[in-house]
Amino acid sequence: MMSFLEYAFMRNALLAILVSSPIFALLGTMVVNKKMAFFSDAIGHSALCGIAVGVLFGFTSRSLSMIIFAILFSVLLNFVKDHTTYGADTIISVFASVAMSLGLVLLSRGGNFNKYSSYLVGDILSITVTEIISLAVCFVLVIIFWIVSYNSLSSDNLNRALATSKGINGKVYDYIFSAFIAVVIMFSIRWIGILLINSLIILPAAASRNISRNVRAYHLWAVLFSIVSGIAGILVSYYTGFPSGPMIVLILGVTFFVTFTVHSFNKD
């Protein structure tokens, strides 16, 4: 029955889902509240540039250079968003396009982009133990960050002036928050893929929002949807041979529409 557990790659994939899906769900709740879906999408696309930077700086320091790139890019994006009279979505789009194209150009040097095309859709079954450990570290850091700064992030999002009057420096948390999104995306991009990563951030929170009335329920359902869909997605893909990433997203999509229907019936 549990024959899939005999395979190391399946055990690794399930472990990766258990560690990463709660992170996506937590960050997602705030991304959705802050209406930053487009922002996190842009960071996902720019990951390609991060990979290119990683490749340029050589294999040994690849992860480190990718993380540094992710943090710098998110800070830059946030700064420009705060200091422009353009619509924020336009600016974000410009930056993401440039970063992605730069990544494509750099990775295509010598005509061997095919080597990297797996980054577009990802391959969860190829995740290594080292990567799982990195994700576990991320997991712990995100939880600590969430304990320390959720209230500040939330109150700043409702009204920055009001938060300031209470001595909350929302801007700082805002920057750290986007940096966290960027780093988590960077760590996950190889096995989830650029095209799907944002779905894993947005969909659990969006589905949870349909049926939650307070912050606790919102978190609980988002994490639950995220973990269950992740595990179900991998199992379905194991038995049917369909790729796991899209399977997970499809299951999350169904969850969204089910909760949406439930919500429509419960309207007061």
Binding site: N33, W146, I147, Y150, N151, S152, S154, S155, N157, L158, N159, R160, A161, L162, A163, T164, S165, K166, I168, S208, R209, S212, R213, N214, V215, R216, A217, Y218, H219
Partner: protein
């Protein structure tokens, strides 16, 4: 200067303080938005800023909140001890909040996120919950504590916001055009609440307003602003001023 502070002391009662804004200037690039603002506010007094759109009313509030770079000083003085400091607790009621109807957040969640470090996504903190309930009770909205913030009525939201603004009790309460989005009765209620609160807690209140009738009824001091202070005094004095007629034209009071 010495003579002035002496006068202030006399007009205040025991636990009193005053806030002095001296030579405040704000400019955005080349454009000067606020010029030479000098202003004194006392506790137990409602100071109202009036002026046309673009007169710099909101900018003045944002400068006081520390959100806009400015020159000049803002001093806060305990009249009893004579201590002067540049740090004061400010309570603020914003014009609006970024909440949609369906946002999964109750009044407890919102309130707690502003006044506590205890993460609101963890199980409810009983002590905090009771404290918030007590604070809401002062404005008779304690029954809203578990309601979703997006589903409050305009009046309920105003009361919740006031209650957040005075937790903990500030030295200066700033209200930013809080009347928009509620009906006429709601506006009157709001002024009454502010008036009661001011007296009960001996608060210094600064309000930006458009409702000249209610201002006349409740304001202790009115300031007519148009990038600089055109005139200040009681409502009667200001409404009779030449500048007032220039700014508000033939508007009936």
């Amino acid at each position: 200067m010495a003579e002035h502070s002496h006068k202030l002391k006399d007009s205040c009662h025991e636990h009193c303080h005053c806030i002095k804004i001296k030579d405040l200037n704000v400019s955005f690039g080349e454009e000067s938005v606020l010029e030479d603002i000098n202003l004194h506010m006392h506790c137990g007094e409602l100071t109202v800023i009036i002026g046309q759109n673009g007169a710099g009313k909101s900018t003045l509030l944002r400068a006081l909140l520390g959100q806009v770079a400015h020159t000049g000083t803002i001093e806060f003085k305990e009249t009893k001890t004579g201590n002067i400091s540049n740090i004061m607790k400010i309570g603020y009621v914003p014009q609006s909040l970024n909440v949609e109807r369906e946002i999964p957040m109750t009044v407890y969640d919102m309130f707690a996120s502003y006044i506590s470090k205890y993460p609101v996504w963890l199980p409810k903190n009983k002590k905090l919950y009771e404290k918030i309930k007590d604070q809401l009770k002062m404005f008779s909205v304690d029954d809203c504590i578990d309601k979703q913030v997006g589903k409050l009525s305009g009046g309920q939201m105003q009361r919740v916001m006031l209650s957040i603004a005075i937790t903990p009790m500030p030295d200066l309460l700033i209200l930013d055009e809080p009347v928009s989005g509620i009906d006429e009765n709601g506006v009157r209620d709001f002024y009454r609440l502010v008036d009661e609160m001011k007296a009960k807690h001996d608060l210094a209140v600064l309000l930006v307003s458009h409702d000249l009738d209610l201002v006349k009824k409740y304001a202790d001091k009115v300031i007519l602003l148009d990038n600089r202070i055109l005139c200040q005094g009681t409502a009667e004095q200001v409404y009779a001023d030449e500048n007032f007629k220039k700014v508000f034209g033939g508007q009936n009071i």
